[in-house]
Point group: none
Chain length 91, copies 4
């Protein structure tokens, strides 16, 4: 489907044009906010690192908490299976 009743001059009517600008700006503003938050998170990791924590492990921990526990265990099991098939013993 094409935009808001622009009929065929291949030019957007000015109201559609305004809407478009508005959408773009709103999205871009939200993207900036996300970037700011990402920046703050970075600072928290940095502080944690400064206090002797291993940030890589910290990240992994957080991702595990976010993820379904059952899924995690299943993934570990498959990994274990593959590892045995390759002759690697992990744990």
């Amino acid at each position: 489907m094409s935009a808001v009743g622009h009929n065929s001059g291949d030019i957007l009517p000015s109201d559609a044009q305004n809407m478009l600008k508005s959408y773009v700006e709103r999205i871009e503003r939200l993207n900036e906010e996300k970037a700011e938050i990402a920046e703050q998170a970075k600072e928290v990791f940095s502080e944690a690192k400064g206090n002797g924590f291993d940030t890589k492990v910290l990240r992994k921990l957080i991702s595990i908490r976010k993820m379904d526990r059952a899924k995690w265990k299943e993934e570990q099991a498959v990994l274990d299976l593959y590892a045995h098939a390759m002759g690697l013993d992990l744990f």
Copy 2:
């Protein structure tokens, strides 16, 4: 280095444990905020779509604008680098 003086009992001292919890919670809170913002962006796209805009085009537009900005910054940076490489020191 390992964390806050836990040397090898394989147990975190309670203050380290508290710090850990605090870091995890702060990060998780920031992650939630990001998710909320992402949700809002989704709504904007949805609204745009409802008004007849092609969201794929919209996304491309936004990504090009972002690229433009990034490219502009890169160009400034390379200028600056050249200047340094030449031994002058603009700005």
Copy 3:
């Protein structure tokens, strides 16, 4: 879905095991090739540096050129998208 009919003995059938090994080896071979190429690139940078060029500037240059190409492709893509959105079908 799980792998090639290993249903639950938690052991991979020997043909699946062979496939697994084969995939792993192929990927690892490709990774080695990439590493070799990366090594060659490193040598080029090193040679450039030896001839008085600033490698950081060189890298920036290359990244800008890459960006230019990417941007050009994006712009073609967005043109194409607009065309579709307008119901015409160029190319």
Copy 4:
């Protein structure tokens, strides 16, 4: 240091300019080769997936093989430590 004896017109002598072009082209060629190889790796993963393998686990397996075994076990231990501190039981 600045480039190949260009003394002060802020213009690169033509031989330096030629070298520069040559370096840029060599690097770009190597980058293309890397991209081709990455493409091939993608195809292998795709084929593996088609035969029922879990590509995510496959990737993890390959990364573990690449990595020092001792390091892997250490990382798991730290993760376990942090997880306990957070009241999560992983394995």
